[in-house]
């Protein structure tokens, strides 16, 4: 049975909210919040329907021809569903957060409009059924994120926007060339039709290798693979909710998601293995993981440290893919979800500290656990998860990665993993230590940089709620990893049923 309208509707919820928000006047913040939140809730329901239908074995396909040999195609598979779920969940959380964060600041209409467009692009990326459609939304994401990055409008933000565009527009162009070349070679390939490329035979292997590299460069810019990561730390000037979304589901993840699609759904893991590209992928991922962690160590400010940590963490996904085996695959796929939840929590916390206490530097955090216990607790959960301690979600990813590395006979990958975990601990634990065990302004020593009392609790409820919720989710997906519908369950399904030969 085919129901095309459901994915279209899912996409439309966030896509159509954007013009609605642009149409509302700037001061109508209540109406805007109502529209935005109800759309976000509606979207979660629609994604839930999709998940339900998918488990019942229904097909959701929607498509039409755009030009000869290229069609617009939405379809639902397990990987896309996972990404769509993450995107819709974090849209709701981040919208709540952003309403609190941007209270009384200018240009909120513009912000929320482009924010919805940005989320719509991620939903489109998740549901895209072929490379052409993926490319459409991938570029739309670039466009809709730019106004968010430069939102503050000061010189530093504008400079960061320039760098961001230089990287992403060029990356998008490279990706476009690669996609067009692939279409010229084999025509319109829907995701999952892996045999089309494999059928070309060994004569086409050199060409396919070159094309893979071109596409990888195009996607690697957004995924912030070293050496294409230069834009990411600078884009940190964006407001906290934007950074949170950028790192958890939007830009960086879109790149990683694209790489997963490329390896599993366009080329097929066997073909990539045959081309000898998995080793290259593993090497790039390892370099990125270590580089990101080492650079994170030397950052004195909270947000840049988190940014470099993202560079490192997202490459776990790529590393998982490149370990040719079920456990590596599961680890890579599930980390897509896990990293998103944990990183968004950490960014919310960073935003909370900045808003409530004016804290931007790490050495200002002394004793903040006493002043803001819930936020600090959430931060601790996220940090421990990143290091890979049970029962937080990150543990599952690392555990499977480790087993995957053993299975794939790549013991050096274990060394990378161990080194990176140590580095993670080295840059996260000192923060946790400062939060809980150092004496600070809350104990009567010195003053917070810029203290405000935003709400009844330790900070505004709008800010606190999403922080607590995502922290809770990070623990839950770790604890309940074994139950059906959990990310691990989806990832296992994908790895064993769909992707591996």
């Amino acid at each position: 049975m085919s129901q095309g309208w459901l994915p279209v509707l899912t996409l439309a919820t966030s896509l159509l909210v954007a013009p609605l928000i642009f149409a509302l006047p700037e001061r109508a913040w209540r109406a805007r919040a109502v529209v935005n939140l109800s759309a976000a809730v509606l979207k979660i329901l629609l994604v839930a329907l999709l998940v339900l239908g998918f488990y019942q074995g229904r097909d959701f396909v929607f498509g039409f021809t755009v030009v000869e040999g290229a069609s617009f195609l939405l379809q639902v598979d397990a990987l896309g569903l996972m990404f769509a779920g993450l995107s819709s969940l974090l849209w709701l959380a981040t919208t709540i957060y952003a309403i609190g964060y941007l209270e009384d600041s200018p240009n909120r209409k513009r912000f929320f409009g482009f924010f919805s467009l940005c989320v719509a692009s991620t939903a489109g990326i998740a549901l895209a059924g072929n490379l052409f459609t993926f490319l459409l939304f991938y570029e739309l994401l670039t466009l809709s994120t730019y106004p968010l990055v430069v939102h503050r409008g000061h010189a530093k933000a504008l400079a960061a926007g320039k760098v961001y565009l230089r990287y992403t527009v060029t990356g998008g162009l490279v990706l476009l060339l690669g996609v067009v070349a692939l279409y010229a070679l084999v025509g319109d390939v829907a995701f999952g039709q892996r045999e089309r490329l494999a059928d070309l035979g060994p004569d086409a292997y050199p060409l396919l290798t070159v094309l893979f590299l071109v596409l990888l460069v195009g996607l690697g810019v957004k995924a912030a693979l070293v050496p294409l990561h230069g834009w990411l730390p600078r884009a940190m000037v964006a407001p906290a909710p934007v950074s949170a979304l950028l790192h958890a589901v939007a830009v960086v993840k879109a790149g990683a998601f694209g790489i997963v699609r490329l390896v599993y759904d366009v080329y097929g893991i066997s073909l990539v293995h045959e081309l000898g590209l998995l080793t290259l992928l593993a090497a790039i991922a390892s370099v990125t993981i270590l580089f990101g962690s080492i650079r994170a160590l030397s950052q004195q400010e909270l947000k840049p440290r988190l940014a470099y940590s993202t560079i490192s963490q997202v490459s776990y996904i790529v590393l998982g893919i490149s370990l040719f085996g079920p456990f590596g695959t599961i680890a890579g796929l599930v980390h897509l979800m896990h990293q998103g939840l944990m990183k968004v929590t950490l960014f919310y916390c960073a935003g909370n500290y900045a808003e409530e206490l004016g804290i931007h530097r790490i050495d200002e955090l002394d004793g903040a656990g006493r002043r803001m216990p819930l936020t600090s607790l959430a931060f601790t959960v996220g940090a421990l998860g990143m290091i890979g301690l049970p029962p937080v979600a990150g543990f599952i990813s690392k555990w499977y990665l480790g087993i995957g590395a053993v299975q794939a006979d790549m013991s050096w990958a274990i060394a990378v993993l161990a080194a990176s975990s140590l580095l993670n601990a080295a840059y996260f634990l000192p923060i946790v230590h400062r939060l809980w065990f150092r004496q600070g302004p809350a104990h009567g020593r010195g003053r917070w940089p810029e203290e405000r009392h935003l709400g009844r609790f330790e900070t505004s409820t709008w800010l606190l709620l999403p922080t607590a919720a995502t922290a809770l989710f990070s623990i839950l997906v770790g604890l309940l990893a074994g139950v059906p519908f959990s990310p691990l369950d989806l990832a296992t399904f994908m790895a064993t049923v769909e992707y591996l030969p």
Binding site: F22, F64, T65, V66, V67, E68, G69, A70, F72, P106, N107, K109, R110, L135, L136, F137, E139, L140, T142, L143, Y146, P147, V150, H151, R152, G153, H154, A157, L158, G161, K162, L165, V169, T170, G172, L173, L176, L177, V180, A181, Y183, A184
Partner: protein
């Protein structure tokens, strides 16, 4: 190619030619009416503007289901040829839409912005009508004489419209344009006379049959092409374009950049496909010029200090994309030519809509900020979001980012270049994309500045905002609905 241009004998005559005449003459009649009425409101223009569209609907209903219609008009000894097919209909529709947008923009603009004198207003309408009529003649004509008449009428009315602001600078730029346009016409006329002397006929279909390759043909084609390229502002013959736009009225700029220069391109491409369809080397040379146009126009647009100059230089650059049609259509295999054929006309339509929208939106921004310079946009995203949004959406199509029509067109051209293995043309498209992103985002960069001083700004009348917005929306969203115009194009020749 001859079938695709609708010039094959398969095209049948039409029973009732009234629709054809209506499509040709109605814009001119309405223009004359406009000179008498001098509308100062938008709605009468909107009502009048619907009439040509209805006439076009009538014409297309008569052509529907056939590969095209053709026929002759006999005036004593003189025989003029015409034809209608899918491509013609598409170009006519584009012309009417952009013409209507300019006309709708004009009343508020003439009243509020330039405060045009009565004589200026009185001349604007008939000249606009004549311009649209002459464009329609060019799309329909199937012989060199009618094409010459259309080209000459179009050139002179365009110069007339450019002179209307009455400022000294506008006069200087306009007269230079006139001089160059006359040189172009002279070259064109010489080419025609050579053809007439050698083969004794001017109808395109007949010439395609009898013309023999040789020095004479090349001299004639060279003269015709040279004249047309001068009028199309193709690199390196583009010098007149930017100064002219700097002083022209906004609706005039919109229709000029959106349509007028494309007419010359259309004639040139048509002549090459018919008369020298095997001239691969010469087509490559035009491709080289196309690359130079893309790069030079892009760099100049990037460095320009004034908003209108950015938009005008971008036209030079974008015309380079169109000129790629020569090397992609001439001497390539059928699959490549098919893709390039669709890509070229889609690019023409995309650029027409987007560039017209861009000029109208730029006019709104200039009116609102009172500043012609790019720096004047500082803080625009907060103060006039709607004008900026229109400009932005049109710009996205110019850069060729999805989901715009420019993207779909670029996709087709890239596909053609890659499947034919033409790496050079692929590079031209890639470099063009990067350069256009550079000049477009430079403007956005200014618009997001927050700490700009609060300057005085004027409200833009709502008809001007709406027209720009609608045109930009069309350029942005029609990219995904490209199947319809493309079937129209395919219907023109592929099916027997």
């Amino acid at each position: 190619m001859i079938e695709r241009l609708g010039l094959s004998p398969a095209a049948t005559p039409m029973e009732n030619e009234a629709a054809l005449w209506l499509v040709l003459v109605l814009p001119l009649l309405l223009g004359v009416l406009g000179a008498i009425a001098r509308p100062s409101r938008t709605w009468p223009v909107a009502v009048a503007g619907l009439l040509p569209l209805l006439a076009l609907g009538w014409l297309s209903s008569q052509v529907a289901g056939t590969t095209g219609k053709s026929g002759v008009v006999e005036l004593g000894d003189l025989v003029l040829y015409w034809r209608v097919n899918g491509l013609t209909l598409l170009l006519l529709l584009l012309t009417y839409l952009i013409g209507l947008a300019s006309a709708l923009y004009a009343p508020a603009y003439l009243r509020d912005d330039v405060q045009a004198l009565t004589w200026g207003q009185a001349w604007f309408w008939p000249l606009l009508g004549l311009l649209i009529s002459s464009l329609a003649l060019i799309w329909l004509a199937a012989d060199l004489l009618s094409l010459y008449i259309g080209l000459e009428l179009m050139g002179l009315t365009a110069v007339g419209l450019m002179l209307l602001p009455g400022k000294v600078e506008a006069l200087v730029a306009g007269l230079r344009y006139l001089l160059l346009a006359l040189v172009g016409s002279l070259a064109f006329l010489l080419g025609i006379s050579l053809m007439l002397g050698a083969w004794g006929r001017l109808d395109l279909a007949g010439l395609a049959e009898v013309a023999e390759p040789g020095v004479l043909l090349w001299v004639a084609v060279g003269l015709l092409t040279g004249g047309l390229m001068l009028k199309a502002a193709a690199f390196p013959l583009h010098v007149w374009l930017v100064p002219v736009h700097a002083w022209a009225w906004i609706p005039v700029s919109a229709i000029h950049a959106g349509l007028v220069i494309k007419a010359s391109f259309f004639i040139a491409l048509q002549l090459w496909l018919l008369l020298v369809p095997e001239a691969t080397v010469a087509a490559w040379m035009i491709g080289g010029l196309a690359g130079a146009a893309v790069v030079w126009g892009g760099v100049k647009a990037w460095r320009s200090a004034k908003l209108k100059e950015v938009v005008a230089w971008s036209t030079v650059s974008q015309l380079g994309y169109l000129l790629l049609a020569f090397p992609l259509l001439i001497g390539t295999d059928a699959a490549v030519a098919d893709l390039a054929w669709q890509g070229t006309w889609l690019q023409l339509a995309a650029h027409g809509l987007a560039k017209a929208a861009m000029f109208l939106a730029a006019g709104n921004l200039i009116l609102a900020t009172g500043a012609a310079r790019v720096e004047g946009l500082a803080g625009a995203s907060r103060r006039f979001p709607l004008s900026l949004l229109s400009f932005g959406m049109a710009a996205i199509s110019v850069v060729g980012l999805p989901p715009s029509m420019g993207f779909t067109a670029k996709w087709l051209l890239l596909h053609a270049a890659l499947s034919g293995g033409h790496w050079a043309w692929m590079m031209v498209l890639a470099v063009g994309t990067l350069l256009s992103a550079a000049y477009v985002f430079r403007l956005f960069h200014y618009s997001f500045i927050e700490d700009a001083p609060e300057a005085e700004f004027r409200r833009v009348p709502w008809p001007m905002e709406t027209v720009a917005l609608l045109l930009a929306l069309a350029a942005l969203l029609l990219g995904l609905a490209a199947e319809w115009p493309l079937t129209l194009l395919r219907g023109a020749g592929d099916e027997p």
